[in-house]
């Protein structure tokens, strides 16, 4: 199928750039058949320019940049980026506090890396199944529907951000509230996880309508 892109300034034959250094240092023998074909294709086709948010340094993470873009308001990337870094810093501080207070045997179980906490929290928030409105005979039913990876990630990030923007005290700053939510989600607690469970229960309740789905 032709992938529906509304309007792209690149010719459709342009391929996506691969920024990670490790993928270029693999010797030829380790690659599978598909990867070899991909390499040959890349050698012939032109490649799009790397976007300004993507970089080969250790500090750039595609998930973090996606989250920062979703937090951004009216194109203020500077503010969004600083909020994100403050969030990660506050997560690290809280975890270090816990680490120094904990007894010897529990010190190894406490996770201090904020990136690991972020990724794990997002994974815990992702719903497995979603609902979609299908109209049959005048009535609209909520039908349980499988979700794609992109859609799951988007829903998890969207829930986190809306939760942090609405359910907080007027005086709490966004990084503080976000770090709180991320730590709760990392331990499978908190309002976002509850929302995910509610969605799963609704899908289970509407199981009878699952056959309405035609795709």
């Amino acid at each position: 199928r032709i992938m529906p892109v509304r309007w792209s300034r690149y010719n459709p034959s342009y391929l996506e750039p691969e920024v990670k250094k490790e993928s270029y240092q693999k010797p030829l023998e380790e690659l599978t058949e598909e990867e070899r074909e991909q390499m040959e294709l890349k050698a012939v086709r032109p490649i799009k320019a790397a976007p300004p948010t993507l970089s080969s340094s250790v500090f750039s993470d595609p998930m973090i940049s996606k989250f920062t873009n979703m937090m951004m308001k009216s194109g203020n990337k500077v503010l969004a980026r600083s909020l994100m870094s403050q969030t990660l810093e506050s997560i690290k501080r809280k975890q270090l506090e816990k680490y120094h207070k904990a007894p010897e045997n529990e010190k190894e179980t406490i996770e201090c890396n904020p990136y690991v906490i972020f990724h794990q929290a997002l994974k815990n928030c992702q719903p497995i199944i979603g609902l979609s409105n299908i109209t049959r005979g005048g009535k609209t039913y909520q039908v349980p529907v499988p979700l794609t990876d992109n859609r799951k990630r988007f829903l998890a990030m969207k829930w986190l951000i809306t939760e942090c923007r609405e359910n907080k005290h007027r005086r709490t700053m966004m990084p503080e509230k976000l770090s709180q939510e991320l730590l709760l989600a990392f331990n499978n607690e908190g309002p976002v996880i509850k929302k995910k469970h509610v969605l799963h229960k609704m899908a289970e309740a509407n199981r009878a309508y699952a056959h309405f789905r035609w795709w």
Binding site: I2, S13, E37, I47, P52, F59
Partner: protein, 350 residues
């Protein structure tokens, strides 16, 4: 429905020949060709050249000399071309004197498209039958993979020209899917001739860019220059060897010129990718654009300058990482009747 649109100039030609019934008779076109040849000989006589060896380029030059025009659009100026280029190809009348059409699929409306699909599917079934015979006889199937990387399928416009008939996007994508299914079969080699009619070679030579050699300044330090652009920013970068990793932009250090971390990350991206962070010094000049555009322009300029310091393989890696392509995205223009490039005015019921 969603349409795939991109703004390369090749896509913008309209297929005029396939629309509507015949506009010029064959006799008319023959007369035009005779007149063109006569005119060519007269023109050669006028210019004092040999009528036998008068090529199309000579005709163009002669016409530009005799009828100078200051018009901007090249196609609005006076031109003299062979009638087959001026009058587009069109179909002859598809039915005989009694009104009965020649082709059996005439009443489908898109006879050439459907006959093409039927032919391709017939070949597909033949290949499958051949495959089944080989399996029945327990012979091994030929598994020579066709080199997909060096060829591309015909575009929709080229296919329309070939069939002299209008196609829709859906029709075109179905045809390409059928061709891909045919090629994916192991015994597709027997239909190689047929498939080659619909595939074109992509010349790899397009990507061969000349890498400039290193230049040396008075102290013997090697340096190279590069130019880059992004949106409206234009930048030139001079990368010196045996450096400490200092980067200067318009005479100002990058810490002061780019207070945002993202821009500095972009500047260091080519160096970090090649692992040469502390080894080069850079002096750049940049003008135009905004903060992010200037950073992108300097990134492209430094990547182009670094090509001279680095092996060909690493240049290829840089290209595949997207460091050497000019970003074509520009600010979209505002259209009349709308508030911005996409945003429409607020809809009011009354």
């Amino acid at each position: 429905t969603l349409r795939l649109i991109c703004t390369t100039t090749a896509v913008q030609r309209k297929n005029v020949g396939a629309s509507g019934p015949e506009k010029y008779t064959e006799a008319f076109i023959k007369k035009q060709i005779e007149e063109f040849n006569l005119g060519k000989r007269h023109l050669a006589n006028m210019m004092g050249e040999d009528p036998e060896t008068f090529t199309q380029e000579d005709i163009d030059r002669a016409i530009a000399y005799l009828f100078p025009s200051g018009l901007f659009d090249k196609q609005a100026r006076p031109m003299m071309k062979h009638p087959t280029e001026v009058f587009p190809e069109q179909r002859k009348i598809q039915w005989g004197e009694d009104g009965r059409p020649f082709h059996f699929l005439f009443y489908t409306g898109k006879q050439s498209y459907y006959s093409l699909m039927h032919e391709t599917y017939e070949k597909f079934l033949n290949v499958q039958k051949h495959q089944d015979q080989l399996i029945a006889q327990d012979l091994p199937l030929q598994k020579e993979k066709r080199n997909l990387a060096g060829s591309r399928w015909l575009t929709k416009i080229e296919l329309e020209e070939m069939l002299v008939e209008k196609l829709s996007d859906d029709d075109y994508s179905r045809f390409i899917q059928l061709l891909q299914k045919l090629v994916a079969l192991p015994c597709a080699d027997m239909e190689e001739n047929y498939i080659q009619k619909f595939s074109k070679e992509v010349p790899v030579q397009l990507q061969k860019v000349v890498i400039e050699p290193l230049q040396y300044n008075e102290q013997g330090v090697a340096f190279s220059t590069g130019e880059g652009k992004r949106k409206t920013a234009r930048a030139t970068a001079v990368v010196y060897d045996n450096g400490t990793g200092k980067i200067t932009v318009n005479g100002i250090d990058i810490l002061h010129y780019f207070p945002v971390l993202q821009d500095r990350e972009q500047l260091l991206f080519p160096f970090q990718f090649l692992g040469r962070i502390g080894k080069h010094d850079m002096v750049c000049t940049v003008s135009g654009g905004g903060r992010s555009a200037q950073a992108g322009a300097i990134r492209l300029a430094s990547a182009k300058a670094l090509r001279s310091f680095v092996t060909e393989k690493e240049v290829e890696f840089m290209r595949q990482a997207g460091l050497l392509t000019v970003d074509p995205r520009m600010k979209e223009r505002k259209k009349p009747g709308q508030e911005g490039p996409r945003r429409k005015f607020t809809w009011k019921k009354r």
